[in-house]
Symmetry: C2
Subunit: 412 residues, 2 copies
């Protein structure tokens, strides 16, 4: 059912709209905020006064001189007013970051995930990592707004549990939110790793200020995040944007997920290594990978293929371009279904070959979607790189605290 709204909700929402403008701008005046948001000067003034009192916003010394007008005080986020902690739970590695209010990292730490990956062991390791990263950044726990966990999905948000995540056989319905909150003493927000990364892009990356974008996340698998009409689109069961499990080849190989010919089965690290292996067997010379492969095929890995492609090696380039064409097919489908303004490609899985992926996908979305006559969709790679998910975890906290969210205005 659709909810109505009321004055207190409108007040909270408008406060977030003002904060969002200040966060997106590189310095902005009260007058400019009113112009951008449609709010009255009086409403903006009242909200800014409270934000200044709370210390979340500061006036910088400089004035903004608008031609013909009098100088106006410049407002900025007071980025030291608080911190957020992000945790990325990759089946192979834990990463933890503490960021300031603008999403800028103050300290980052990594460690291998505990072998066996029993939930209690993983949570204990996470708590240790949080303690270490806060110590390194010299941030007292009292200044931390919260901890955002970017975890492999699917996730049941209501229960705060991880439901049968791919590649984690021991992790069926683990109440991770509560376990992690007890272990760290921090309020915990949890989301799918790719959704978290998309929130990170919205907060501190390529998606700043973009109304509609799709984020493709290349990690151990291929995930995604969707921002539609400025809102993170989570979907009816909070599991939208599973781009890696859309079918590229209807009768393609079965995926562990239950679907056929999924993007992930075609472009995962394993798939790229397997395809390179096949090509090196077929064509034993002519690639920088040929000689090391001949000596020891087991040394071949995803990073080597990407580095070779980045150096222009023809065999590795052909493998990466084929993977990029599969990604492009899904990108075109996502554009035809959701009509986004921007596609962002990110994650460690495209490191070194970001531009090849961007070029192939950009070429497809400029020639194949039905609405290309009206406008061409932008394609870019994430400036956050491999840290998108962990920065995204921290951004989940900032997003909950500060972004204009319809769930505040129109709660269920």
């Amino acid at each position: 059912m659709q909810s109505g709204t009321n004055l207190p909700k409108v007040g909270r929402y408008n406060r977030a709209v003002v904060l969002d403008q200040i966060q997106l701008a590189d310095g902005i005046s009260r007058r400019e905020i009113a112009e951008c948001t449609g709010l009255t000067a009086q409403t903006v003034s009242g909200i800014v006064r409270k934000l200044l009192d709370e210390g979340i916003v500061r006036e910088d010394g400089a004035n903004r001189v608008v031609s013909g007008g009098r100088p106006r005080t410049t407002l900025r986020i007071n980025q030291d007013a608080g911190s957020a902690v992000g945790l990325h739970f990759d089946p192979a590695e834990l990463t933890c970051v503490v960021v300031d209010l603008l999403g800028q990292p103050l300290a980052t730490k990594r460690r291998p995930a505990p072998p066996g990956a029993a939930p209690a062991d993983v949570v204990a390791a996470m708590a240790d990592l949080v303690r270490d990263v806060l110590a390194e950044a010299d941030v007292p726990r009292s200044r931390v707004l919260g901890l955002g966990l970017a975890s492999p999905g699917p996730i049941d948000q209501d229960l705060g549990i991880v439901v049968a995540p791919p590649r984690l056989m021991n992790w069926t319905r683990v109440p991770i939110k509560q376990m992690l909150s007890e272990a760290t003493g921090l309020p915990v927000t949890i989301d799918n790793d790719a959704t978290a990364a998309a929130v990170g892009e919205r907060w501190a990356g390529a998606g700043r200020g973009v109304a509609n974008f799709a984020y493709f996340f290349f990690g151990t698998g291929v995930g995604g995040g969707l921002v539609l009409n400025h809102q993170v689109h989570r979907g009816g069961s909070l599991n939208a944007a599973e781009f890696g499990h859309t079918s590229v080849l209807e009768d393609g190989p079965p995926c562990y997920c239950g679907n056929l010919g999924c993007l992930e089965t075609l472009v995962s690290p394993e798939a790229i290594v397997a395809e390179t292996y096949r090509r090196l067997c077929d064509q034993p010379t002519g690639s920088v990978l040929s000689e090391p492969f001949r000596r020891d095929p087991a040394t071949l890995n995803h990073a080597l293929v990407r580095v070779a492609a980045a150096d222009g090696d023809p065999l590795a380039t052909a493998v990466i371009d084929e993977a990029a064409r599969h990604v492009a097919t899904v990108a075109v489908n996502v554009v035809n279904i959701t009509d986004v303004d921007l596609i962002v490609l990110g994650g460690a899985g495209i490191r070194h070959v970001e531009q090849r992926y961007v070029d192939v996908v950009a070429s497809a979305v400029s020639t194949r979607p039905l609405a290309r006559h009206i406008r061409v969709v932008d394609v870019t790679h994430s400036p956050l790189g491999p840290d998108a998910a962990v920065v995204g975890g921290a951004a989940l906290v900032l997003h909950d605290a500060f972004s204009p969210q319809l769930s505040v205005l129109l709660p269920d």
Copy 2:
């Protein structure tokens, strides 16, 4: 940029939220509206008083007795308080309907689209049809809220034009909205035919009260509509939900749209007839279609194949099931991307075989999407049938006038 909001906008939005509750319910009390919407009893009371004064809502004689409470007055939409006209522009046929405020048809008329389909001739024919249908329903033009045109896309909403619609070679950037408004004297709303049909489903069909659903529209081509978080999702260029032009087979046949292996190339009426033709050539006996096909292959058409499949003919059934499997692949992709709660299949192109399509798609979405462990997506066929687009055209008008739309609360 995200907008703020204010009291007058909140007032208009809450009014629509109350109307929406009354429209969705089969009789509802003020108290029940307050409970469903989170609005205070006082707010609901004030809004209902105005709606009664305007004649849009009526109190029916019956009281609603809630166990243990005192009887409460039942509210209903006063369906005779106004009308809306819907027009469906199919390249082969024009259909026009006039509906009451609940979206119930009062009169419907059809005529072939003028040959050659020059824009001015089509608009003149449309205006004649509107006049005839209003006369038949005995509705004076002054009682008509507006005219909603369901047209082949893509559409540029800002300019009110049809941009290079598929299968209409003379229709490049035609300012249809203005032409039709001048010819009929009615305010005109225009949308993609499939989006209009989805709005029709939301207003008077299977999508009533459903927060997230995808509508597949089988007509001359295959279109779609998306409702996400109770809002029609139109996308950044207002051309979302082009399910028919998502790729099912990455290296499949080129589609006129510029993409490869599109759903539409595989399941359009022409494709289904061609596939039936191929199978009848390979296997000349054993089907109810064999004998008429042997006498005159040109008599084979889409409707005959669907009727034969509905009667259990094995060859026709195999053709329809193969088409349904292609639809199912796209349905699974749409679920994995948008995480909708419901898939609705509609349009004339699945008439007689609605249940076969529903069964094949339902089987796929219960076994292949990643989030199926959390909940299974419903699949149903449209109760509006082949008239979904024209009823949808009229529903566009009702939707603009009465539905709670974020664009009212948060205008751009």
